[in-house]
């Protein structure tokens, strides 16, 4: 079932996607990624409710520790592609909010799957005046090949924000561009917004959170 292999990467990614929390604003991007990951995973490891799949609890954790370090507007722009320019500011903000909800819900949930994986943080290769860096990590689990999970961060207004997560060489953000493009071709920007909002609604019903 090689066809399903990538699904495994998604969940491992989410263990880390969810892995970014409070660290000082001036800290180097690799230090930020490391501190947040370690803090969040320590909480997950000690929280039985999260491990048994408590949606509310995991959302609260992610909301407090992780989300402040993500730039969802930038992520949404990259997922939408060129059509972003033709969206009105109001459409852009609805897109951002819907895409953010989708990512947060699905990947927070995957945090509940986190068990005995270990994370290896690679040394950062960047110069101090870089405005964009890629922090590389590797996640290992017993009996399986390690999977690379990288974070792209950008410096804006003095703090580093994550705007892409790359799992096994695949950008989880730009990977949406194909299906978003289909939606836009079929129903315009508003069609995409409607699909995203409908998807979120159905997830909310299913998860009861």
């Amino acid at each position: 079932m090689t066809g399903k292999r990538f699904a495994c990467c998604l969940v491992l990614a989410s263990a880390l996607f969810g892995g970014l929390a409070t660290a000082s604003e001036e800290s180097a991007p690799d230090v930020l990624v490391r501190h947040v990951s370690e803090e969040v995973l320590a909480i997950v490891r000690s929280d039985k409710a999260i491990q048994s799949g408590d949606t509310r609890r995991v959302l609260a954790l992610v909301d407090e520790k992780v989300l402040p370090h993500f730039d969802f507007r930038r992520m949404t722009m990259l997922a939408v592609g060129k059509d972003w320019r033709s969206a009105t500011p109001e459409q852009q903000s609805r897109l951002t909010s819907a895409f953010r909800t989708l990512l947060v819900r699905t990947y927070s949930n995957a945090l509940t799957q986190y068990r005995d994986q270990t994370i290896d943080f690679k040394p950062l290769r960047a110069s101090p005046d870089d405005k964009q860096v890629r922090v590389k990590t590797e996640v290992s689990q017993p009996g399986a090949q390690p999977i690379g999970i990288d974070y792209s961060l950008e410096k804006a207004n003095g703090s580093w924000k994550v705007f892409d997560v790359i799992v096994a060489g695949v950008s989880l953000v730009t990977n949406y561009r194909g299906s978003f493009g289909n939606e836009i071709r079929a129903g315009g920007i508003d069609g995409l917004i409607a699909s995203l909002e409908a998807k979120n609604k159905s997830l909310e019903m299913a998860q009861g959170g």
């Binding site: 699904a7 705007f163 096994a168 990977n175 194909g178 699909s195």
Partner: protein, 252 residues
């Protein structure tokens, strides 16, 4: 390298031919989307009735360390083929490391049950003949969904019989019952690792088919760069002259 030139030309010719056949309204690498979607949903059904129940039963009857041993055992058997491909791709040092892995794990690792080579800093590589063809210059061609085995690019589908034969060298065992047992065990072992994960895929995507297709294609491309594909991020808040169209950097 003459073979590379030949490969490039023939690859291009093939893609061109495939496009003539059906590039009208489909994404560039998916001229067979209609067929692929049908096969994708058939595979999902097969998974629900065969692979998933087998994997669940396997997890129910085996403790975690046993599953790790089983995973290591099958992993060990494909190291020689990974090494051959590293050699074919002009990476003799990696090939030697793969050979060492196989020797160390087969002996001190008790027939491959333990992966002590990784602890001895001989990392597991990820190579196959499809990647080798890519390094040689063969284009990947259209995306095809194989029944049961899942997605491939045409190039990888052509390499697949070789990969399947040599990745799993236990297939050469003449004793049919042993071979079938190993076959079932490998299926259970691989599928078991993904249990509970398909939920994330279901939830994260608007269209599971196109999301998983794009994921697969990006991942294959990345593997040919050994995990370091060039990535460029556009900024669509800027117009084509690089001037801002509106304020940026706002986080919600």
């Amino acid at each position: 390298m003459r073979i590379a030139d030949f490969a490039k030309t023939s690859g291009l010719a093939f893609v061109a031919a495939a496009c003539l056949a059906g590039c009208a309204n489909t994404p560039p690498q998916d001229p067979f989307e209609h067929y692929n979607r049908a096969m994708f949903s058939l595979n999902e059904k097969l998974d629900i009735v065969v692979a998933k129940p087998v994997a669940k039963a396997y997890v129910a009857v085996t403790p975690t360390p046993v599953r790790t041993w089983v995973g290591n055992f099958f992993g060990n058997l494909n190291d020689p083929w990974i090494g051959v491909n590293n050699l074919l791709q002009g990476k003799p040092a990696d090939a030697l490391s793969d050979l060492m892995r196989f020797l160390v794990n087969s002996t001190m690792g008790i027939g491959g049950l333990l992966d002590i080579a990784t602890e001895a800093r001989l990392p597991k590589h990820d190579e196959d003949f499809g990647q080798t063809l890519g390094v040689w210059g063969f284009h990947d061609g259209p995306y095809v969904m194989l029944p049961f085995f899942g997605p491939r690019t045409l190039r990888d589908a052509i390499a697949f019989p070789m990969d399947m034969t040599f990745d799993d060298s236990w297939r050469f065992i003449p004793h049919i019952a042993t071979r079938n047992t190993l076959s079932a065990l490998q299926l259970a072992s691989e599928r078991a690792r993904m249990l509970g994960l398909e939920r994330t895929l279901d939830e994260a995507t608007l269209d599971k088919y196109s999301y998983s297709r794009d994921f697969y294609l990006q991942q294959r491309r990345s593997k040919i760069y050994d995990g370091n594909p060039p990535l460029e991020y556009e900024n669509f808040d800027l117009d084509d002259n690089g001037d801002p169209t509106q304020t940026t950097g706002e986080t919600q």
